[in-house]
Subunit: 461 residues, 2 copies
């Protein structure tokens, strides 16, 4: 039976199984959800066993466990390692969701006339990860598995994958493979398949500015003491110049500069600034001078405040000067920026621009290195052929602005290339309220993945 027929016959069950998985709030960033994260790892274990994996186990780590499973059919055949994550982003701000984030519902949208599943994690990454589990089920149930396969599904991707590095170091042999397959990215459009060939790195920090040792009455003290909120705003404002270049000394030193030819190639991807603005309801573009929107969110590094808080934020008015103000700041990095180095440069610079009247703390959270994969590798060519089989089109290689910090880690620790076959869309609202994943995309992913195994095995001979 071919993949399409199998998917058609089983699609209702595939959807319901994913919905069950989405009901568990596996928020790795919030310790309050620890039990749910653990419960999700157990659900993944069960699903791998059912899909036909052997030796399925929940591997303990210093943090959340990693679920491992494998099917070794012949040591002389190539081995595909599937990576995914079962943890999700916090759903905040919850009040902006049209339906509760952990009560999945199917709704039709303009882009998804066949329905989309709305829930936190629907796309990132439970839905995309589960496509691989179901593709595995197809291959084992129909005797179509052409090579060896290993699964490694982690629970800390949204908080920096710290335990994964620990796990890789200790399990190099167990995890040995010829290619790593990941679905945690998107494609350009439903009729424009694409393979992600570049990812940005990340440095995520939290900053704290302390003024007076206690909250003060803004009438009695206003104007005579440094207000940490005003100071924090001032310091954040200084991090960009009038051209939206980042002002941290040394920040751009190692940034890979693309050639005119490479930028011209990128510019060929279909894109409408007008449609982009309309989709986001913005009236003007914004970003680093000298670059296009698509360049700004892929080949250029950035600095964004992801959260800020301080003082009175309740209803009504409180005339207070806060003792402290806080911000979470992340920088997206490009090849060849080193995230440890960038974190250090940020810290040094941020401390240096603090006026003498406040104290400043910079707490690094986590980070990751940017990654670029060549399009002439065996893995890329196999993936390209798989899309041709099911989409009838050659996929476009695309640099993404997002970060999967562990891709660079895989190359270092396991010495193999990752192939990023993403089936999500930009409009899926991952990390936002009303995250969703198109049912068409989900099923198309399950249908396409076995073709990769077939081509990769054939090309490896």
């Amino acid at each position: 039976m071919n993949t399409k027929t199998y998917v058609d016959q089983h699609k209702d069950r595939f959807i319901n199984e994913l919905i069950d998985l989405l009901k568990i709030p596996s928020i790795s960033a919030d310790p309050a959800y620890k039990k749910d994260v653990i419960k999700t790892s157990e659900a993944i274990k069960t699903s791998l066993v059912k899909a036909g994996c052997d030796h399925v186990e929940i591997c303990e780590t210093p943090g959340y466990p990693i679920v491992y499973g494998e099917k070794i059919i012949d040591k002389n055949l190539p081995t595909v390692l599937v990576y995914g994550h079962y943890d999700v982003q916090p759903p905040d701000p919850v009040e902006l969701w049209d339906s509760p984030p952990f009560e999945p519902v199917i709704k039709n949208t303009e882009l998804h006339p066949d329905g989309a599943i709305f829930a936190r994690g629907a796309c990132d990454d439970k839905g995309q990860m589960y496509m691989h589990v179901k593709a595995m089920e197809y291959m084992t149930a129909n005797n179509e598995l052409p090579c060896n396969v290993k699964f490694m599904i982690e629970g800390e991707e949204e908080v920096g994958s710290e335990s994964l590095g620990w796990f890789l170091e200790r399990n190099r042999e167990k995890l040995a493979n010829d290619v790593i397959l990941i679905s945690d990215t998107g494609m350009i459009a439903k009729d424009v398949p694409s393979i992600t060939t570049g990812l940005r790195g990340l440095s995520y920090v939290e900053v704290e500015v302390t003024g007076p040792n206690r909250d003060l009455h803004s009438g009695l003290y206003g104007g005579a003491v440094a207000n940490p909120i005003n100071i924090l705003c001032d310091m954040i404002a200084q991090l960009h110049d009038e051209n939206n270049h980042i002002t941290i000394p040394g920040f751009y030193d190692k940034v890979e500069e693309l050639s005119k030819e490479e930028r011209a190639e990128m510019a060929k991807a279909p894109f409408s600034q007008e449609a982009y603005n309309k989709a986001l309801d913005i009236t003007a573009e914004h970003g680093e001078k000298g670059y296009t929107t698509n360049e700004r969110n892929s080949i250029r590094p950035t600095l964004d405040v992801n959260g800020i808080w301080g003082g009175y934020t309740g209803e009504g008015a409180k005339t207070v000067i806060a003792s402290k103000a806080f911000a979470k700041i992340s920088m997206r990095l490009v090849p060849d920026q080193n995230w440890h180095e960038i974190t250090e440069l940020f810290q040094k610079h941020f401390e240096s621009i603090a006026p003498a009247s406040v104290k400043v703390k910079v707490n690094p959270h986590h980070g990751g290195t940017a990654y670029v994969t060549p399009i002439d590798s065996l893995g890329y060519r196999a993936a390209s052929a798989a899309y041709e089989d099911t989409f009838g089109k050659t996929p476009i290689p695309q640099r993404s602005g997002g970060s999967i910090p562990i891709v660079a880690l895989f190359e270092k620790e396991l010495n193999s290339k990752s192939i990023l076959m993403g089936f999500g869309l930009d409009s899926d609202a991952i990390h936002s309220p009303n995250e969703h994943f198109g049912i068409w995309n989900y099923l198309k992913g399950i249908e396409t993945i076995p073709h990769f195994y077939k081509h990769f095995t054939a090309m490896s001979k």
Copy 2:
């Protein structure tokens, strides 16, 4: 019986009655506490009746009620109108309180070896307002009331006293008086009595910056859309120049400039920058260039962010670009700035500096006009004589940085001067966690107030 003896005999009851009042969380800014605010007005009514007032009533307004009571002994004698407020500031951040804000406790401190009552509202203004109720009790119980008295205690001072203006307009005759007496300010030190002769005005606004129409993934969109938090920080930073002057065009146009002589007179007040910095644990002073700390927080207008929020503020990391960012901003004003005009200037300027890539909303909250009282008035001289009686020292006239917007309103609507006899200390932490009021100060206030009535009546003859 003189006031000191009476206070000594009844002090335990005076303290316990205040503690009972402090247990009711009359937070006017938060609608969740509506019942408690109302309950407090009823407690005030009961206490005025017990203190000997006639015609005590809870007067309904469009907002929280105003408690009124009076004792008219002879229409030919002068009338003192006592103003105070029974509402309190929100206690946030609650986690910084050493004891729950509405469970008053007495603790000894270095400054208060006789103990201080720790609770929200202990000083501002329940404690200081209640001194007047107890002074009234003394005068009626001992036949020492030398003139007529009226009480007007409101419940919206911490949110802009909007209903008070409505009430004044409709009750000019009922409230007719010769002087208004208020204790809602501080004095320089326990051994340095002072009378507040100037108050700053206020304009309080809330701003909202909107970028994209939903929260976005900072990897996929970072660098290519305007981040409303970064933009808000940038806009706030632009509100001051490098000398900490406020940059809003026209902001300083009507500011009363003090003469060299007046500033020299001010500089004579005892003050140590070193002790000030030590008390607040700050390492450097901060403020408008060309002015001293005492000038910055009294005769100069200011602009402070009182609260800021946006994006992810929970534990851990979330790589999000928020759709919206918010701030609460207040400006302290000096004579002769008009707060309506300043609010408008702010709004116009803030909107004008917004980049095209975001939408900006400015919501005015409330405001008030600055006030200066002459030191040769009958009321001031009577207050000065009262302090001399009980402190053995002439009080120092002092300009305060705080705002009691209604003082200017009283002059306009009731055509009378307000005398600000404050018994609080800068260290009382009003509007902050661990607000407290020294028992010595509380009892000294009750002791001193009847002397004011005596002198004011005598001087009026």
